[in-house]
Symmetry: C2
Subunit: 239 residues, 2 copies
DNA sequence: AATCCAAATTGGTAGTACCACTTTGTGGCT
DNA sequence: AGCCACAAAGTGGTACTACCAATTTGGATT
């Protein structure tokens, strides 16, 4: 009966209000939200509820809080993805293999889009990274590796894919330092990986989608090999 | 100086504590979290802070709150993704095209994985959906379309990809009902889409990755066409 | 043994008070 | 006039209390 609409949770009122501010362009990125006490009064909810909403938007990456200054609309979503993926990991809902498969799909799409959209400057950056790969310290290789993938993603010009790839990279850093290090420390796999990387950059220079496809395959072939071996060992340990 | 480590925000203490419960397997999916008042006392923080943490985990999809009963560990992450993507939309950080590109990448990976992993039962389900596509009501087509994509995703056995695709589908539903309806209401595009769908199922039956690739291309070719046309019209309207 | 109702439990919300940090503005100094 | 310092105001961070609303629990009644 009583359609009094008050079933809406208080903190949702706040979130929806902030959404409406964004929609009506009364609030833009970088802008400052009304003070918590003001929001509280305006919407007729307690400051607790306001803060629950703010905290939520904070974790989502929509806003960032600065004590003493205010809450500001930002729009950094990578961190949110990292948190979510970490949680999925913790809950055993995903494993390395699934992340690797997702990453493979996105890297492939990214490089294909990059071939269509990359600029001359972006190619220069990649050329430079590749040439630096020659003076290989193990430590440097990890950094250069990440920088290369990141720059290819950037060239795709797809914010969403860039963000997700970045988040995946961070999660992998957090959970499988060992695997990355192992791959890079072995002569043979490192060599294949290097070939794959060079192939990827080459494909961007030549706008060669077939080469891109092959290179991505080569790249993730190495990783899958390791993952499958780890999986088998895990199974053996169960006996 | 004062490395007193108390810089950690109170609500982060709570989140980390819950994470540790999960890590130590003292808390499993479906399990009930300690009561808010207990958490508050245990960790030496106010109930406010506990609630900010709980709310955050709630929005992330990690837990779900039931008034009077308790907070329970769930692990439904789709909703979180939907919220985040909606926000990115609102903030104009992403557009239809980028979502479509991401979806294309995931659909492709999903069908490739499905070819390797699909079971006989899952194929039967898809066969049935395809045959139902013949008796085409516009309304039904939308539903069947979604069901088909979802079942292919399921067959990939990659939770992460399944979740993201599901989230993308919901976001698209929320924001571009018109586009979907338009594509399905036009004789020519609908026909191509149907061919693509049949091709996708066919490729799963025959374990034919080339056909899968072609079919995905055909499928998203239709969508991209519409998107590009919309984009051009938007540009024209700027004059 | 099954049912029902009251009490305890637990999440949802409001309000107040105070701390910590930042911004602002005012007054005094050069 | 311009600069600096310091006080005041503004704002997020946290704690505590009180009460409401829904669920669960457990004992009394049948």
């Amino acid at each position: 009966m009583g359609d009094n609409y008050s079933n809406e949770k208080s903190y949702m009122k706040v979130i929806n209000y902030i959404k409406s501010l964004i929609r009506d362009e009364k609030l833009c990125i970088g802008g400052k939200l009304p003070a918590e006490r003001d929001l509280s009064e305006m919407l007729g909810v307690s400051r607790n509820s306001v803060r629950e909403a703010i905290r939520t938007l904070d974790i989502m990456g929509v806003i960032s809080s600065q004590q003493g200054a205010g809450n500001f609309l930002t729009g950094n979503f990578e961190n949110n993805l990292v948190e979510s993926l970490s949680m999925m990991f913790l809950l055993n809902q995903i494993n390395y293999k699934q992340i690797s498969q997702l990453r493979r799909a996105l890297e492939l799409e990214a490089i294909m889009l990059a071939i269509d959209n990359i600029t001359e400057e972006e190619i220069q950056i990649l050329r430079q990274i590749i040439s630096q790969l020659e003076q290989e310290t193990e430590e440097n290789n990890v950094i250069l590796d990440k920088r290369m993938h990141y720059n290819i993603a950037l060239a795709s010009k797809n914010t969403l894919i860039i963000n997700i790839l970045q988040a995946l990279s961070e999660v992998l850093d957090k959970f499988i330092v060992d695997l990355r290090r192992e791959i890079l420390s072995q002569e043979d796999t490192r060599e294949i990986l290097k070939e794959a990387h060079i192939g990827m950059v080459e494909s961007l220079i030549e706008r060669d989608k077939n080469l891109a496809y092959e290179s991505i395959n080569k790249h993730f072939g190495v990783i899958d090999l390791k993952l499958n071996r780890d999986e088998n060992e895990a199974l053996k340990n169960k006996d």
